[in-house]
Symmetry: C2
Subunit: 572 residues, 2 copies
Amino acid sequence: MSRTISISHYLPILRWGRDYDKVKLIDDSIAAVIVSIMLVPQALALALIAGLPPQAGLYASIVGLSIYALFGTSNTLSVGPVAVLSLMTAAALSKLGLSDSSQLLTAALTLAFLSGVFLLMLGLMRLGFMANFLSHPVISAFITASAIIIGLSQVQYLLGTTSSGQNIVELLSSLGDSMGEVNWITLVLGLGSIAMIIWCRTGLSSLLIKMGLGSRLVTSISRSGPVIVALLTGFLCYVFRLDQQGVQLLGVVPAGLPELTVPDFSLELIRNLFWSAILLSIIGFVESISVAQTLAAKRREQIELDQELIGLGAANIAVSLSGGFPVCGGFSRSVVNFDAGAATPAAGLITAALIAFFALLLMPLLYWLPKVALASIILVAVYPLLDFSAIGKSWNYSKTDFVSVSITLLLTLLVGVEVGIASGVLASILMHLYKTSQPHVAVIGRVTGTEHFRNVQRHDVETFDNILSIRIDESLYFANTRFLEELIFSLMAKKPKLEHVILMCTAVNAIDMSALQTLEKINQTLNELGIKLHLSEVKGPIMDKLLKTTLFENLSGSNYLSHNLAVEDLKD
Amino acid sequence: MSRTISISHYLPILRWGRDYDKVKLIDDSIAAVIVSIMLVPQALALALIAGLPPQAGLYASIVGLSIYALFGTSNTLSVGPVAVLSLMTAAALSKLGLSDSSQLLTAALTLAFLSGVFLLMLGLMRLGFMANFLSHPVISAFITASAIIIGLSQVQYLLGTTSSGQNIVELLSSLGDSMGEVNWITLVLGLGSIAMIIWCRTGLSSLLIKMGLGSRLVTSISRSGPVIVALLTGFLCYVFRLDQQGVQLLGVVPAGLPELTVPDFSLELIRNLFWSAILLSIIGFVESISVAQTLAAKRREQIELDQELIGLGAANIAVSLSGGFPVCGGFSRSVVNFDAGAATPAAGLITAALIAFFALLLMPLLYWLPKVALASIILVAVYPLLDFSAIGKSWNYSKTDFVSVSITLLLTLLVGVEVGIASGVLASILMHLYKTSQPHVAVIGRVTGTEHFRNVQRHDVETFDNILSIRIDESLYFANTRFLEELIFSLMAKKPKLEHVILMCTAVNAIDMSALQTLEKINQTLNELGIKLHLSEVKGPIMDKLLKTTLFENLSGSNYLSHNLAVEDLKD
């Protein structure tokens, strides 16, 4: 009995699969068609961003979608290659100094494998909370900077030149060097493609709505801009032999399904890819659950963080064994899947089957697809990722967040994705510690005629020469213990008649060991000077913990239930 | 005018020097005599721990004390080589693979220089708060583990054998290998020395008190155990030519004052020592200000953190230019200085002069000093550093602190000081984030007939089907935004008739950008489901910040001054 529960816990498909019916099948199938139309050209393009052969993108999509459908808890998350992970994969591979394309693919497999193992381990150890260490503005800045780098990396295809680089400095200088070789036919094809995709989403879409077509059909057609562009540009290249005019074609893409591949488990390679895999896993996980959580909440469904880690981990391991590269849940495709009415993870399975059908039968058509068409598709896809509002908002709302945002944005753009995101995480943690290390505190006095205590600097209140009342608006922990000590000793130095120090603890949500020891030390030092230390209004859960220590035995003063009781008791 | 203020700000000697008088001079001189008696043998031994020639310890003391006296703000802090920094210096130098002693000394100078520059920069940039990132239990565990390693590293001198290693595994196996070569005369000298030093502090000390001697004189004599031991064992070696019996002597120590030395500024060396210098600086700074702050508070004096950084930075740079190695404020010597009545930093200057006198005239005597005497002095000196109470206390009081303590202790002992302290800092920060990422929360209801709201699980309270009241006992920031989101959506799923969610914010001390965006997202998602989000009892400083945002414009619900007003307004 308990064994069955445990299996279905780790294999959610056993739960939703039991109630699967025809209505859900129809919903899932429609969503699958729409998503796969969108996904095929994107998957090809994303493989190129990662520096891998185009079919790798299809394999990663087929396998990623299928395996996630077995293990994942989101009904609508669409897993596959995504832009930011492709860029991070390219950055990780670029450090290895490989040029042989089969070696590059093997390294990408290893990266996906390491990332899968890491995600799986986090999931099994229930460490999903690690994703919380990424602050929203930092993620937003990172994604914006990544989109800029991805966009710049596609400009070479738009111009028909070549460039390379992992940051804007390298990319711009490399593009500058190749400006003499611009192929104007390529550029025209590219700009035309971009215009076409945008028009499908906007002009065509509103036209169709006016014509009274159903919303699902409209969504489906408006999302097929990339496919239309691929067909049209491919047709033009074939008819006018544009390759002879210098337009770069995708070339031969082997037809067939994913085959078994084996990552390279050499210690050397694992060591070189280790941190890349961890950064990439965290980014992939955060991107996946952000969208999964948002979509689930809209239908009052729930996802399980630790099981999501297992699902994404399994998907990445499977991808590494079948010629793919790192995958996660994509934002726009999941939203499309959701809007198109996907009811269960089966939508992902059907999408995978449709893409497999394409890979098996229609690959030869890709020969004539110009690379510039894929670049246009990517440029339109990453444009919505640009979001500079975090800069302005954080400047207005929180300077510490602004510092983290600026560091992430600048370092990602100027140095690269890995340094950028690692610095961003570090900066946001240090900024948080910095902020809480200097908490808001108030010397308080009593509002005359009441039992309320307020900041002496903001209100007209009564104070007593022999009492120092302090309210600290922060949990007491290692980062602010020294602040507390300094605060009390410096305030004390200004009150020659002082006999009692009372700490009001209404806003103290926790007291860690460092803070406990500091309170003991302050108590002892004050005691030697003939001053008593008191606490007031300590919260229940903290009180429970403090009672296990010797603090109250050694406290020179008392612990009062209310600050007013303390003052009444101690005033001259 | 403002220029004068600024100079005396950075040179505190200009402040206290103005009021210097004869009474203070006498106090300072007495303290200086007592401290220098204690310091000379320790300084020699600490140089040996760092793997450097013994005179380096004297030079570091002379220069460290003098320069700190000009820049420091503590009247009683005694700066010089200390055990933990000597050990960290040895660990840093061991990574370089040097064997030539002049190269080692040059590397030590470079380490001191880097550390000095780092401390000075932190001070000038007013970044003293960085020291706060070390939690008390982590420091305590680190010092305990360091003391064990130092103690073990001295056992070779006690046994007259040789051993080496940076952690207990290496030291124990190295000692085990050399057990055949134990020199019994050395061991007897060593155990005798240890007994002698302890007796001076305990037996002799109480004897002298009974004889009615003044307390300063008693302190001074009880602290002179190391000097007595040095004289006695040196005399025995000279008379009985114990060096011919295999007792290792200190040998020739050149007489003279510190001379100008130049650190090695090669990029290679700086890169190798960079992180060591930073870890060492932080440990040195934390040790210094902990004792300086404690001693200052006892006399109602104050120290300035940023000026302390400048003082310690200047001392380390000066030490690097005069043949020394990294220094900081020592715990026991500062306490002795304080107890002996030091009134101003001039005590440090006089101590430096006394040690210089010794270095100039009495060095030849050191030839006959056996190394085992120095090892005994160190063993007695580091014994009080052993403090295992943090393990038990943290186990009882806070499991997250226990994790950090265990990691620091084990990694320092088993791997080495640098890995140990770096892991400890990281662990305590991650544990803090972990703890605050899963804050205490309560679904609350109204205590019937009152306006008070309490946890529904702990109290018998009234709730309403259309209202979900939640109190979060933690600041809202990036590490717990996902928790908040999950919490609300999972609680919501259990209340089918839900119309209003009210967050009670009495214990929310801060809301960062991530949390703000999460609140906006929750508001939007709830709104789409026809549920309104409300806030109650938001604190003044947070309210000020939130009013600068669009949160309240977009909020589907309202912001209430009291939770009871909200419930009265919204209940069915």
